[in-house]
């Protein structure tokens, strides 16, 4: 099998090309850092198997961020067909990476993308002259490119790097190093040099960088003609968009209007149509068949309650999920996210984060697991850990159906404000925790924000459609795998007694027995209900399951019926106004789902995974307790609780600071 690496600077169209060559539908967007891990797809072409690998963007082999390390490792293995995708509009910077690959003895095919935009802005390129240096460079359109023999044909001749000889001679002779050692050191590899050798190479590196650029300028002077006023990424609209007030007000308006349209205006209407269609096409025919041909009540109840009811409850939120991703894709494709990162950078730095956290948090609105993975994009370790453990406080799409359903059932017309309030509470808690972490155990070693601006682009409806499809398929897959599987297990546990006999009465079930034992813990926050506890416990696996459990517990077949039962005191799961608010806050803030925890463990380590799990449970409990106390016992008792809890938190922070100086978590004092 042949391995084909798609290499290049960020946002040059690698994933777009990967999707076209491999008939895939991976996530693409108009900002840097969309791809943070290598993605593989095997394609058969002319009777040979090709393993295409889409790599995260990389500016240089001297890595600066964690996702660049992923690319570097793959590139230096050196057993692949290398396709270097370069943006015609920033060819000078893109060729820098090409020269580094040549220095390392790698061959590659240079594919120049985004050529139309380049020509449209008064620039021109003589490909023949460029090929005198880069062998088989080719102009492509990543959106239309097909898999051809030509694109996979890589010249065996290594591109010459004559500027390097002087440096090599000097260092090889002076330190008796091999050429390979020096080359590796020039390109960010630790090759066991002494401190003196390392310092000398560091001192020479700026000269090497300059020599590389001088060589690139020499090449480009023969084959490229630039419009002198052309700046890639800059737009006239930026004058307006980069105004902090306009951006801030615009973003809030976009946010509130999106939520209203998604969850209160368009979403519910489309949901009803979807539920009707699912019942008409799938569920009713199967249930009619079962009623007519199967006499076993248990089996009929199993399919009705355990399989179909929980499935339709979660599936009915598919339109909302699609709309949410449509809005996110519009933000990503337009190029606005980088502008937001820039404008909000100063504001976020107050909370120990930087501007890049904007798009990680926006991704969190869709899926916390994906955004925890995107924290790899951060340039500094403490910042990466902080972003990954703060991100689960942002309400993901799986939690929104719970908010909408419970808030609509209990608060009617005011539910919109409840849902928006929950979003803002999640963001506020994340920011406050960010400040505390930044002041104690996760101090930033600031390198500032270094981010390239992509150009503003018109929205491609086709691309928005493909991103909706990608996420909708993912959502439906989750519903038909983990949600269905766990739903069935929970239904069985909630309809089985200890003697393994079937029961209609859920209060006699195994599940109810165990959940009932935990009720006393949750009584102070108004959630001393075994059904609610079952839902919260199972919600740690996946948040969508909470609604499944509600449906199974209350024995209803639709979201509208479920909403009615939530206010009825005769239902197994029911809420008062105070307990509903307490539940919503707890569901917002408590443990991230299991897949997010797995990603936090991978990105930040085992300690931070446990920290994330326990701190979220504690914070969720404390805030629910304060709010529930205020609603049921009055303001003064709640205030007394806040004072008592603040004292305890201050004591913990004080102790954390003490511990920090005994055991190093990365602070400069401990390193000394």
């Amino acid at each position: 099998m042949y391995k084909v690496l798609l290499i290049g600077n960020p946002n040059v169209g690698k994933t777009t090309l990967f999707n076209k060559l491999t008939y895939s539908c991976e996530h693409t967007g108009n900002f840097h850092g969309v791809t943070v891990e290598d993605k593989h797809k095997i394609v058969k072409f002319e009777n040979k198997d090709y393993d295409f690998v889409d790599l995260p963007g990389i500016y240089s082999l001297n890595c600066f961020s964690f996702e660049e390390e992923v690319s570097r490792k793959q590139i230096l293995k050196g057993d692949s067909i290398n396709l270097v995708i370069a943006d015609a509009n920033s060819l000078r910077r893109n060729l820098y990476l090409c020269l580094q690959l040549s220095e390392m003895g790698q061959t590659y095919k240079l594919l120049i993308n985004n050529y139309d935009y380049f020509v449209k802005h008064g620039n021109s390129l003589d490909l023949k002259s460029l090929n005198n240096y880069f062998n088989t460079a080719q102009i492509i359109d990543a959106k239309k490119q097909k898999l051809t023999k030509e694109i996979l044909t890589v010249s065996k001749t290594i591109v010459k790097t004559p500027y390097l000889q002087t440096f090599l001679d000097k260092l090889v002779n002076k330190y008796k190093l091999t050429k390979q050692q020096v080359l590796l050191a020039f390109n960010g590899e630790n090759v066991g040099l002494t401190q003196q050798q390392s310092d000398e190479i560091k001192a020479i590196l700026p000269e090497v960088v300059k020599a590389r650029y001088d060589y690139i300028d020499k090449i480009l002077s023969k084959c490229i003609s630039y419009n002198k006023n052309f700046v890639y990424g800059k737009s006239k609209a930026d004058k307006l968009l980069l105004n902090p007030i306009i951006m801030f007000v615009g973003f809030l308006a976009f946010f509130f209007i999106s939520i209203y349209l998604i969850f209160f205006l368009i979403g519910p209407a489309v949901s009803q149509v979807l539920v009707w269609l699912t019942n008409f096409v799938l569920i009713n025919p199967i249930m009619n068949f079962l009623y007519a041909n199967v006499g076993n009540v248990w089996l009929i109840e199993f399919f009705n309650g355990g399989v179909f009811n929980s499935l339709t409850t979660v599936l009915s939120f598919l339109p909302q999920v699609c709309l949410l991703f449509a809005f996110l894709t519009i933000l990503e494709d337009s190029g606005l996210i980088s502008r937001m990162a820039y404008v909000f950078d100063d504001f976020l730095s107050i909370f120990g984060l930087n501007g890049k956290a904007v798009y990680i948090m926006l991704m969190g609105l869709g899926c916390n697991t994906m955004s925890a993975m995107a924290s790899r994009n951060m340039d500094e370790k403490n910042l990466k850990i902080k972003t990954s453990i703060l991100n689960p406080y942002i309400s993901c799409m799986a939690r929104l159906p719970i908010f909408v359903l419970v808030a609509s059932a209990l608060f009617g017309a005011k539910s919109y404000f409840i849902v928006v309030g929950l979003y803002l509470l999640g963001i506020a808690v994340a920011l406050i925790l960010g400040v505390i972490l930044n002041k104690t155990i996760l101090k930033n070693k600031s390198r500032g924000l270094l981010l390239e601006f992509p150009p503003l682009k018109n929205i491609d409806i086709k691309h928005v459609g493909s991103m909706i499809k990608l996420n909708a398929v993912d959502f439906v897959k989750r519903v038909f795998t983990i949600i269905l599987m766990v739903g069935i297990i929970v239904w069985l546990l909630s309809h089985t007694q200890f003697n393994f006999s079937y029961t209609d009465d859920i209060t006699e079930s195994i599940l109810f027995f165990f959940a009932g034992k935990l009720c006393f813990v949750f009584a102070p926050i108004g959630l001393n209900n075994a059904g609610i506890l079952c839902a919260l416990i199972v919600g740690i696996l996946a948040k969508e399951l909470i609604l499944s459990i509600f449906t199974i517990s209350n024995g209803v077949a639709s979201t509208s019926a479920l909403a009615l039962t939530l206010t009825a005191s005769t239902s197994l799961i029911n809420f008062t106004y105070a307990s509903a608010i307490s539940f919503l806050i707890f569901a917002l803030l408590y443990s991230p789902c299991i897949s997010t925890l797995a990603v936090i463990k991978k990105e930040a380590g085992r300690f931070w995974m446990w920290f994330s799990l326990i701190s979220q449970l504690v914070i969720a409990y404390i805030i629910s307790f304060i709010v529930y106390t205020a609603l049921t016992q009055g303001f003064w008792l709640a205030l007394a609780s806040v004072v008592a809890i603040s004292l305890i938190v201050s004591a913990i922070i004080f102790m954390a600071k003490k511990i920090q100086h005994k055991k190093c978590w990365g602070c400069s004092k401990c390193k000394k």
């Binding site: 910077r93 990162a341 270094l450």
Partner: protein
Amino acid sequence: MPLTDVKLNTNCIITEINIKDDKIKLRLMELGMLVGSKLKVTNKSMLKQTLLVIFNSSCFTLKADTAKNILINYV
């Protein structure tokens, strides 16, 4: 006088780069911010610490943070 890490002349040409953090200094150079190249500050963000600059025909954001890691000064 503030500690100045990147100096520009009146034509916005970089005359000196003295950034202390070696890694960010190297990265900026690799992106094309070299002595002799033209750099233009076009915008400042909310609290005026994050700058929008143009070099190597592209737009970048840079932080003039409290540690004065990158403080671009017009001479």
